[in-house]
């Protein structure tokens, strides 16, 4: 296909009808009939004689960018080098209704294309098919297609008030109080000065009060020094385990690849991405180290690290997580550094993620299971589908109960992946888990 201007069927028929009317008028001696063909002929000749000799250059394909409001936007630049023209455009995107529009391109212009999405990850949007034509449709170019544009939508995050920590903090510095004495802020005790204690830690008030209180000592005689000892600070190591083996939407009828997932509804994987990103941001902001493992892809995990650049790396990796084929079950759980807090994001619709969580818990890790199943729609299910769903639901409830009994703490991530729609239940649940660690200490 090229961009040469051609006479359209409509244009050719305009010319033929014009000539027919004029010839008919001449043959029948009726000037009024011949005049009827005049506007059609003038219109055709006007456009045809002004057609460009060169081919119409291809338009630049749309460049997609993401808005914070869950909107994907692209600019489509249009230009006609021929007679003042029109563009017949069809814009389509997977999961969206196709839009057809006819616009004027009498001058170079930019059309803004947009779709609203609640989903994160890789999107392929805005396939544009278009034909540039003259204003009266006498001439047109060949149809052209701009293929789907690919864009990676990173998961959004929401602010969280408090998050649980591992049972044991193993770092040498950080923002959390550890249980061993060392340089920190929280008071551990007041004790006798010993070798290794710093002079600036001497508590002169306690020393003065205790002076001369020993046997055979005169009042006010300085005999022993007392120091204030504090708890050391440490950072936490957190491992996020995302179960990307399956992606289910709110519509139960679409489970098992029986239907297409709607782009305006968050799936379990979108919620998992959003939850994992929110937790990662919170922990990294607190100076902790965060790692990431994907149960759906058996490859090396992202090792725990800290900092803003690491957050970007995690967000990117989370956005790329998607179900790929049928992953083999793990023979043993992926290796996690000792003392790390493990947070598993899964729907727990099968045994694999729950089995991993239980194994990690048995090996001494503190394990949180975040249930990312979206709020379901079951009202329109057929009786057979409803029965199947009830069986799956009962199995899932049993699985989560079993997890709780094995010591894994379970949190349901309420709301959609959209941070504005999320409720405060998540905050309440995590705050309760924070207190549980304090009680253990």
């Amino acid at each position: 296909m090229n961009g040469h201007w051609r006479v359209s069927a409509s244009g050719a028929s305009t010319a033929v009808v014009a000539l027919c009317l004029i010839i008919l008028g001449l043959l029948s001696g009726r000037a009024d009939v011949a005049v009827l063909g005049a506007p059609l002929l003038i219109s055709f000749v006007w456009t045809y004689t002004r057609r460009p000799k060169a081919a119409q250059p291809a338009q630049r394909g749309p460049i997609v960018h993401q808005h914070d409001s869950g909107e994907l936007v692209a600019d489509l630049e249009l230009e006609s080098d021929g007679p003042a023209g029109i563009a017949r455009i069809r814009v389509s995107a997977t999961g969206y209704r196709t839009t057809d529009i006819v616009v004027a391109v009498d001058k170079p212009r930019t059309l803004v294309l947009s779709v609203q999405t609640a989903k994160t990850g890789r999107h392929e949007v805005f396939r544009v098919d278009y034909v540039i034509a003259s204003e009266d449709d006498v001439l047109h170019t060949d149809p052209r297609t701009d293929p789907l544009a690919s864009v990676l939508v990173l998961p959004s995050t929401r602010a969280l008030k408090a998050l649980p920590l591992p049972f044991r903090l193993q770092g040498l510095t950080g923002s959390h109080s550890a249980r061993r004495p060392g340089d920190g802020g929280d008071l551990h005790d007041v004790n006798l000065f010993a070798a290794g204690d710093r002079l600036r830690r001497i508590d002169w008030r306690v020393t003065a009060r205790r002076s001369g209180q020993g046997m055979g000592q005169k009042p006010g005689q300085l005999s022993e020094l007392y120091v204030r000892r504090t708890f050391a600070t440490a950072d936490a190591t957190v491992f996020l385990i995302v179960d990307s083996r399956d992606e289910v939407g709110p519509d139960v009828a679409s489970w098992g690849n029986w239907g297409e997932l709607r782009p305006d509804e968050s799936t379990s994987l979108d919620i998992a991405r959003h939850a994992a990103a929110s937790l990662a941001r919170h922990y990294l902001a607190a100076g902790d180290r965060v790692g990431l493992e994907d149960l759906g892809e058996q490859r090396r995990p992202i090792a725990p690290a800290g900092g803003n650049s690491h957050l970007q790396r995690l967000l990117h990796q989370l956005a790329l997580a998607r179900p790929v084929g049928e992953p083999r079950p793990y023979k043993r759980p992926p290796h996690i550094p000792s003392g790390a807090l493990i947070i598993v994001f899964s729907t727990f619709l099968d045994d694999e993620a729950a089995r991993m969580a239980a194994l990690w818990r048995h090996s001494g890790h503190r394990v949180l299971a975040v249930d990312v199943l979206p709020a379901l729609m079951t009202g329109h299910l057929s009786p057979t589908e409803l029965t199947a769903y009830r069986i799956v639901r009962m199995e899932r409830i049993d699985r989560i109960d079993e997890l709780s009994r094995s010591g894994v703490e379970v949190v349901h991530w309420e709301g959609s992946a959209d941070s504005s729609a999320a409720t405060t239940d998540v905050d309440v649940a995590f705050t309760a888990l924070t207190r549980r660690r304090s009680a253990r200490r």
């Binding site: 029948s28 000749v45 006819v102 616009v103 059309l111 947009s114 782009p263």
Partner: protein, 197 residues
Amino acid sequence: MIGTEWWNRLIRTLSIGQSTSVRPLPPVVVRAGRTVPGWALRATVVVVALGFTATLATVSGQWILAIIGVSVMIIRPAGGLAQAYALALGIGLAIGPTHPFAPRAFVLLFGIHLLVALGSLATGLGWNTRVEWRLIALSARRFAVIQAACQVLALAAAWITDHDINAIWLTTLAGLSIAVLGSTLARDMHTVSSQQH
């Protein structure tokens, strides 16, 4: 059991007995200027076609033909349909019992041009296709210029006809001009087509 299959297919097509909770997918939004829907443009073409048929139709046969033509334009507005309808209107004027350059000829000059212009714009438009209002305004401007020139031409032709001026040389010249123009365009199109291939 072909009948049963056919019946089942019809039931499925009409979505009878299926869940009513099928929600429409979200649309791809194209931000352009003010637009009119494609069905409105199609309806306008139909109104124009039937309206100007009314200036000519004297027998019921013409109305039947008009309704068939309009129905085809509503169902599938393919390229050339409006032009064919315009040709039929012209033939109707030629064979009709009217005096040359009666007022209806001027009305038809306007109507045929309008029908072809709107029909060209509506060619291939879907019901939900949106047409930018600015495009219609641009087309209207061009339409007005050409139409004004043609009405002047028609008035001149009417004046010549009324004054019974013997213009055989003018008729011959017009015929020759049309022949030359037609052959030039045909040769040019053939050349362009062969170059492009």
